[in-house]
Amino acid sequence: MKISDVNSWRLLILITLVSALIAETGGITPGLILLICIAVIVKGQLVIDVLMSLRGRHRAIRAPMLAYFYVMMPLLALGLLFPEWLERLTTL
């Protein structure tokens, strides 16, 4: 799906406002953590593909940029959802 830079900006604003609303209401559940991580991936992809104009071009540049979000966010989600496991893993 092709999206213009203006629509991309509108979508980024909308996702940010929804995230802020979640932050204000408090009570982060595992479901919300996953939802926020997906929202961050969408935001990252919008910036990389539309605002940086990397979609469909410059594969060697685009792939590591996208991987940053597709790898980092699941890792963060795992760390946030299973802190006991991470604590055990990082205890000397």
Partner: protein, 194 residues
Amino acid sequence: MNTATQGIAVKPQVPGSIAVWVLIYAELSEFALFFLVYLVTRAHNTEQFAAGPAQLNILAGTLNTLVLVSSSFCVARAMSAIRRNDRQRCIRWLGMTIACGAAYCGIKGWEYLWNDAQGIHARSNLFFTLYYYLTFNHLLHVLVGMVTLSWLTLRTWLGSYDAGDYEGLENGACYWHMIDLAWIILFPLVYVMG
């Protein structure tokens, strides 16, 4: 007659130079390391990190996010303008990007003052130590980006860039997008999910 005088945009193979991409990957790796340190510290201090985000100024964090994503849009528009050889519009969009950066710094300053009034300091607990380390580090990147974009705006005004040669400008734009990308992860991690 070259392409610049014809007003035809020439698309380079890679946006910006390879050097700026090495810098961008290095900076993103640095932020990734900070995020992992945050995660591990959180795992060892769950109570402090669970209570931390609720004490932060969510409005300031949200406004900073809105300003930064808007600045990314502005710098993207500046690049579109220079590709069309529209230097005046490019300068206008770059000016708006720098204004967004200045707004970010102003909001961040207000947020730190607000924290101080609430008795929140870098040594309050580990959550706030990492909060200050991450956000101040990001603020420094914004300042570097603003200085870079100011220099590039001056060079554009002096006629150094046009539709045929805008690699320097694109380097600055890519760096600015990187600053936005780092904040896109930082905001929900510290302010929302904790």
